[in-house]
Subunit: 367 residues, 4 copies
């Protein structure tokens, strides 16, 4: 990852600001001959788009993707795919005050200090709108994965909002699409709705934890020791706005385990080795084991809130700032489809890297 | 990060296996004219080297670094610096059984499956011995930082071992060098010693959490949106052996906060803006704020233990495996100097990237 | 350079096909605070655009650039600059026959063989239309260079068309803008006009040699040994459509020289060392000397010609192919502004790389 | 290519100075399971090593390669391969004068100006000794190519020394190994011997042109538009010391051709399309055609000569400089094995890139 590009062979460069005319992703290195269906990409974008219920920003953006290059007669040609999304509902007048004062907890101040210039309208480049481009690129990655790894599934969901985590005994992935939180636990989803209504009305916001699982990932993906699959997943998730922590498998809780407990023991199954547990989250030594790849990350609460916070202006004046405008009370909600997209991009990239260096499929047999 | 290289402008490629003749780091892109003192690099290596007390592996390695290139009359020339460390205490006979059976929780199985060949002696490339090369490279990075950012400090320490965390009210960085755990809380260090003696004797191991803080980091480092400072730090730490989670600032706990609590409010101080708290861990929008940069990560327990665990052999036979040989009961201990080295490399790299794109120093003034 | 991206810190990714809806360049890593004037970028595009006289393709394209991101209130923000150019004069019906048969000397056949799919309309991605995106990106690079290296000049011109070279004793850069060949020798330009009229009427085409000179390049740019300034210039020029050879300074003719003749002797001038000749083309050991950087490259004749050539179809049928449509009889002409753009991008990139690693300006003094 | 690394997936980082303790190459991304035979690598090094006849430098270096990592039981493991060559015949006293004065035509002055420090002993990093590391890395690439593309051949030879070119009607590749010039024309080789004896005795040197041909390169290698096969070959050759020009196929002479002449016409052969000529040098649109890949490059005369040349010292004093020490009168001779090595590395890299993005083999069939 460097500047605005991520990926090694499947490389995505995003561009665009919250209130500019458009934003998008330049996707390079896609395998040729992949069916790229604009409606399929739109499907993923629709999951992320704002204004769909009272728990996300009320900005109305159709988030319609235009494919400007790299697809011919419905198939990828192996040349760069340009995905463009027009911004349509900018209301720059909302952002007058923010042009001068820096929102505490927001990138306003560091962009200004680093570059000496910033597009303050809607957060400019630091806006979560940038993630629409990731989702579009992820749609391309999913299309390629569907062709190259049939059966691979990527599923994201929210497992904690504020202090309240789901009850894993009730985890039901069927529930994920049935509530506005992508929550796999219906009971907890109902509680979150109450909680978030309260926070929203009081001009506050809240953080969240998202989990993304990839099933059916081939054995052997990941390039130790600095291109490990988990290294790239950690980078991919940490690059999402407002993310402050990333875990693989047991994550931070692995610290509390002993070696006896942590060992994912192995037995032979009908199709090769099988693991009796998955503390590792599907990755050992940076290489996929064939088990579910499990990633979790924490999203901090939205920093744009209606409650006054102490800050300073560009002129060095101290002030109290209320952020008006249309903001997500829990930006973690919309991070779910974004994280799925990042997972898809990373897995595809490592699949291509692996077949570049090693060839198709893993090389070492067991049994 | 890709394959065995990390960094953008300050680029480190490590090479070598646990039981080969040598290992090392090829450091490219170091600024010229930096005093590179072999004894200073050796100082950092000595902190990591094995066999220093009963809580680390009893393998005896002097870990003496040889500088083979890139330094002339005591100064870096701007050309690649080759740092080589000879392996001297290989005992390959220890590893006979591991040539056939895969240690649960270890990279043995995935290296085999991916590549179809592996140097099983001591874990080969997946051994924590690789981190000696990181520490040597970090010594070069520290020398460059000392010249370019006087006053910058990087301090790592252990904050949790197994289930027991330090008491932050007792945190005293003076303590860090006084106990074998790099623990900043003397009371907890004593408890850990008891705990680890017990685990070691029972043929078990345990995980840990490490915290690394960089003080005096200039404002403005980090290249959004995919070359963020926190993105690269997350990748750097996750690339260390056995790491399963990475946090910046409040990390996973940020999920439980509200926007009101999470906002690091700002006031004007004598030298510019000052923050009233540091939930952000010194990074906003991927760019350093000038506050302490705070990173934490979890290390899982060593998978090589003396307690039998169920596994399979390359031939597909089920077996119970005991890992003899000399292993760290808590590999997290020796991760402390490694993490400091990674922090140094990442900060230097971003310093060079920033001055490449933007010029020396931040551009935007406040007040 | 990799896939569709070139540059290290100033990175340009071009996208788009000849007959798609649009093409463009994603420019990442531009320094912030640079005046980006769309009319200035348009100025460079207008020099390259087709249909300006009878010696270039009669396709009519306004080549109007839209800046979709990265510029705020007339200045670069340091975030990606998206430059988009709409295609308006596609006539896909011209290309029916080429969908089946491969033009000899053209990328038709290799794109098909490599990818198994190609956008055959107008050559798709392999069309020289891609170079419009380079020229737009070069306009951004020129703007940055104007701010960072006042006085730097980049001038391209044609020095040979077919077998006829200019007479260097008549070289006058004032002439370059006065004839349709960017020829610095008015007499030769007139001869070329006659020659090209004849070739065009007979359904033929011809090659050319272009020279590009950069004046005022600072001393010290270039990163030996694989990021040399001349290495990157050679790659940049060779990446332009139809280029078959690249020379720095004396180029291929250096082979015939002796060491006595080739030495660019040095004397002290009022502002430091001065060279008595410039066989080296302004680059020694991959690093700029401060003299004129001189690059030359050969462009092969357009392969799309009205004279039948023997070839095969996708079905393996042998056939004779005449390429109708609108083609440049000497594609070298329009390569001149493209090469200037590539020179600008490479120099800016190396300027940023140098200040990243070494700091602003050269470090070693003489005298 | 950047700093001291070249390649995308097969990545080579060279390190070391002429008079340091050692130099070498860190080779990353090699496919696993490749037989790496130290004696085979030594074979290539022996072809390049100095002191083999009166036409190359009299420095005596055994150039023995040590493989420090990445090879286990005779096979590559997929992890970094460290190739180290000790310097044994440094005579630093030869270089006293050069510490102060800059050789005209040499990198002495630009290294000093760029970095403010240089290892002047034997040219330090800018010495042609660096190319030994390339040849060693090329040996690894050849081993991988032998496994992946049986039948692929890479042959380099000298086609011009000073003003005298070979007579192509006498070209006989059997001759290449029979004379000290790698000359495929015995008559010309004899003439060159006389010529070079004269130049050497008069304290002069001379340039040369080298040609390298790769036979049996698969169709479809090359990643348009900035990772073209010819782009990377041009960069690879231009990165070799003293190279001033690079040509693919007809090279600079393509400028003089018409489109009718330049078209490599195509007929169907028993195994697919066949070309009736090879003006293109085996590359169309940046992608290999399956014909011979033909690259030529010019090497300027050695700048270290015994004839006094005017120059300046670091203190700004004007002086006349004679370069004593042991130098190649025609450094082009030893560039032959170096260029072969670069060709091998580039082709392997593109083979891996192609199979990463597209899969094994070309995708589009003809007939």
């Amino acid at each position: 990852m460097s500047f605005n590009t991520f990926g090694h062979l499947f490389r995505v460069t995003t561009w665009g600001e919250s209130h500019g005319p458009a934003l998008g992703a330049t996707v390079d290195g896609c395998p040729p001959g992949i069916q790229i269906d604009p409606t399929a990409i739109q499907h993923w974008l629709d999951r992320r788009k704002p204004g769909q219920n009272r728990f996300t920003t009320q900005r109305r953006e159709p988030d319609e993707v235009e494919i400007l290059s790299g697809v011919f007669e419905g198939q990828s040609t192996g040349t760069p795919i340009q995905l463009m999304i027009r911004n349509t509902d900018q209301r720059s007048k909302d952002y007058g005050e923010i042009a001068q004062a820096f929102r505490p907890g927001h990138a306003d101040i560091t962009y200004w200090q680093k570059y000496g210039i910033r597009d303050y309208r809607g957060g400019g480049r630091s806006s979560a709108r940038e993630t629409a481009a990731r989702v579009a690129a992820g749609g391309v990655a999913r299309a390629a994965l569907a062709a190259l790894v049939p059966g691979l599934q990527i599923i994201g969901y929210m497992v904690q909002m504020g202090p309240q985590a789901i009850d894993r005994s009730r985890l039901d992935l069927e529930e994920v699409e049935r509530n506005p939180f992508w929550c796999p636990d219906a009971t907890t989803a109902a509680a979150w709705a109450d909680q978030l209504d309260g926070l929203r009305k009081s001009g506050n916001s809240v953080g969240a934890i998202i989990e993304v699982v990839a099933r059916g990932v081939p054995v052997g993906l990941g390039a130790p020791v600095y291109g490990k699959l988990d290294t790239d997943l950690a980078a991919a998730m940490m690059s999402i706005n407002a993310v402050k922590g990333v875990e693989i498998g047991d994550g931070m809780a692995a610290a509390a385990l002993t070696g006896i407990d942590n060992a994912d023991e192995i037995r032979m199954g009908p199709n090769g080795p099988e693991y009796l547990s998955n503390h590792a989250g599907g990755i050992l030594g940076g290489i996929s084991t064939g088990q579910d790849v499990v990633v979790r990350f924490a999203v901090k609460p939205t920093s744009s809130i209606l409650t006054p916070r102490r800050t300073v202006t560009r002129d060095g004046q101290e002030t109290d700032l209320i952020t008006k405008g249309r903001h997500d009370p829990c930006v973690g909600i919309r991070a779910v489809p974004v994280a799925e997209a990042m997972m898809a991009c990373v897995i595809l990239d490592h699949l291509l890297l692996h077949r570049g260096q090693v060839g198709a499929g893993p090389r070492g047999q067991i049994g």
